[in-house]
């Protein structure tokens, strides 16, 4: 059941992010990028599997075989590596979002508008 809910949430997040990126307002575009980035992070967490024991000794981690391994058995553990990956991705996403917001402000200062149809690249 968790899988179905997470899959739906992921789909909605990606759809929402894509919708916002296609807006005219620059702030919404940055929001959209940020949401897509977070959706990718949530997706990454689910890639470790959702059904296993927590990989901690004394809490079910005594049988250290990840559930993704074939024939892992019933008391396998959730893969903890993806959490390390996601931490890295979150930190990078934090930096890039901060930069994108500053860039939005500078764009407003230079163009006096946040409407993308009025901002020309040329």
């Amino acid at each position: 059941m968790t899988q179905v809910i997470l899959a739906t949430v992921l789909g909605l997040l990606f759809a929402l992010g894509t919708y916002l990126i296609l807006r005219r307002d620059v702030v919404r575009v940055v929001w959209g990028v940020s949401i897509i980035g977070q959706a990718a992070n949530v997706y990454l967490v689910t890639m470790g599997g959702l059904t296993g024991q927590s990989p901690i000794l004394g809490h079910g981690g005594e049988h250290p075989v990840a559930c993704s391994v074939p024939d892992a058995g019933a008391n396998c553990v959730t893969d903890p590596l993806v959490q390390a990956l996601v931490l890295t991705a979150i930190v990078i996403g934090f930096g890039t979002t901060a930069f994108a917001l500053v860039l939005t402000y500078r764009l407003y200062q230079e163009h006096n508008t946040l409407d993308l149809t009025e901002v020309t690249v040329e």
Partner: protein, 546 residues
């Protein structure tokens, strides 16, 4: 960790990255002392060059070197792999960036250099080197981000209306690209159970033994291709290229076109020819119009269409632009087409099964792509720096306002001429061999009866004619003719012209002394196609199943 897990690690592998990282931090700390900062920055790029030379000599004489971070054995830790392909790309980066940094010191105003230029430059170089050396697919994502973050700042460096607009487009596109890359990497991890590139190769080659299904990896690697194509500026992901290159300072346009673009090319060669080439979908791909079971049988036609479209879009775009930077930016799109085309041709001609020796034609195709990359890196950075020098002297790079540069600045114009001829492919310059190898790959594929080889040759011919057209147009409009007032007023900078002329000599030298360059590229191509050798060098532990 138990003692039987012997880990072989060679510290020289991290030398270039260490040089770039230390310099970036030092130049950040010496912002108040701008002379010291500039000296440190130049010393740092020198150390980077020495590091690359030492690493290259070690790899070419002793074979692939690996560096296991914190002595964790592969595939559990992050592995850095310096094989002939990686050091070829590093050598290309070092050669170009040394010239670019010397140019920058004379070109970028003092205020700009003091604020952020030098740390960003070295962080970008760090990201580029890390991408070339890493043997871990998630680590590749991290190095891409390290490389991209400074490039966002560089695109908005002058911070005017045009720069902010171009940077927003560039940043948003690449952030979406990064999210997609994360999705693809996460999926590959979930499917194959590993992030180590050598381990992925090994598992894809023998999916039954590891209990994995290779079919989803094909789709996931297709998402990855999209990200690399975005980085390399291949059609249909090329539209950010002209605004970004025009907005960035001239030496940075040279860096982005010469080196950063090649990271995308490198990633395509490394992942699709070394790693994913081992993948086979039993019973065929099941896609309309595609036969064959290998992953390459899918990526070949896809790359083929992208390469042809790039050559046309780049050529048509460059012919119609009235600004030197725009001409060179569109030209970059077209030239990347020339780099990808031989890769596409050899990917199409047949399955390259794991463990089997690569055929001569496959090696030739990858050599063609590498030699063309080297030529484009040197010649295109040369041209962007010519454009910067012209702007420095005449305050404009609009072709309408330029004229008579040959009379006023003969050395600068001569360097532009050499750079253009190299892109066109006139002997004895570096570009001649690039073009020759591309056409040779197409010709041999045609002789071998490969589908589409004739089309590849025709496309390359049209692309080459476009190259001649837009470069001679820039030459006649901007460099020949009467001296315009803008050109008359200006004064050229000796350092800038010196760097540009030195690069022009490098273009000639690569062409005249092509033999060692060819052997180097051949070693790199063989390393790229030797999936088994790559796996052996990294030597991932066998993970036993219970």
């Amino acid at each position: 960790m138990s003692a039987d897990l012997a880990v072989s690690t060679t510290h020289v592998v991290v030398a270039p990255m260490l040089a770039a990282l230390v310099t970036a931090v030092l130049t950040l700390g010496t912002r108040r002392y701008d002379r010291l900062q500039r000296v440190l920055s130049l010393l740092g790029i020198g150390a980077y060059g020495v590091g690359v030379i030492v690493l290259t000599t070690r790899v070419l004489s002793g074979g692939t070197l690996t560096y296991q971070l914190s002595a964790w054995p592969a595939p559990f830790g992050i592995t850095l792999v310096a094989d002939a392909l990686a050091v070829f790309m590093l050598a290309l980066a070092a050669l170009t960036t040394v010239a670019i940094l010397i140019f920058s010191v004379a070109y970028v105003d003092e205020e700009g250099q003091r604020v952020s230029y030098h740390p960003l430059f070295h962080f970008m170089l760090l990201g580029v080197s890390g991408s070339f050396l890493t043997g871990d697919i998630f680590n590749l994502f991290v190095w891409f981000e390290v490389m991209l973050m400074p490039s966002y700042v560089f695109v908005v460096f002058y911070s005017g209306p045009r720069q902010t607009a171009a940077a927003l487009q560039y940043t948003v596109l690449n952030l979406v690209g990064s999210a997609l890359m994360l999705v693809a990497i996460g999926g590959i991890y979930a499917t194959t159970g590993t992030l180590n590139m050598a381990d992925i190769t090994r598992r894809l080659a023998d999916p039954a033994a590891f209990g994995i299904d290779p079919a989803p990896v094909l789709g996931l690697s297709a998402i990855l291709l999209l990200v690399f194509a975005l980085k390399a500026g291949i059609v249909p992901f090329q539209f950010w290229v002209p605004p970004a290159y025009r907005a960035a300072p001239a030496p940075i346009s040279a860096f982005l076109a010469g080196v950063t673009k090649k990271v995308g090319v490198y990633a395509i060669v490394r992942l699709y020819f070394t790693v994913f080439a081992a993948g086979v979908v039993d019973g065929g791909l099941g896609l309309p119009g595609l036969s064959g079971e290998s992953f390459l049988a899918f990526f070949g036609p896809v790359l083929f269409l992208m390469a042809l479209a790039s050559m046309l879009v780049g050529g048509v775009g460059a012919v119609s632009r009235d600004n030197l930077d725009d001409v060179f930016a569109y030209s970059s799109i077209g030239q990347v087409g020339f780099i990808v085309l031989p890769l596409a041709v050899v990917a199409t001609i047949g399955d390259h099964s794991f463990g089997a020796a690569a055929t001569d034609l496959q090696v030739l195709g990858v050599i063609a792509a590498l030699v063309y990359s080297l030529n484009h890196a040197v010649a295109k950075s040369l041209l962007f720096m010519v454009s910067g020098t012209v702007f420095d002297a005449a305050d404009t790079i609009e072709l309408d306002r330029l004229g008579g540069l040959t009379t006023r600045y003969p050395v600068l114009s001569g360097s532009f001429f050499v750079g253009s001829l190299a892109l066109v492919g006139i002997p004895p310059l570096s570009g001649f061999f690039g073009k020759l190898l591309v056409f040779d790959t197409g010709g041999q594929a045609l002789a071998a009866g490969a589908p589409g080889a004739g089309l590849a040759l025709a496309g390359a011919l049209v692309g080459a004619i476009f190259t001649i057209a837009y470069l001679s147009r820039a030459w006649t409009k901007g460099f020949w003719g009467d001296v315009t007032p803008a050109v008359e007023r200006g004064e050229q900078s000796t350092v800038l012209v010196g760097v540009v002329a030195a690069l022009a000599l490098v273009v000639v030298a690569i062409g005249v002394g092509f033999d060692p360059v060819y052997s180097f590229a051949e070693a790199a191509a063989e390393a790229a196609l030797d999936s088994e050798g790559y796996v052996d060098a990294v030597d991932p532990e066998v993970v036993a199943h219970e």
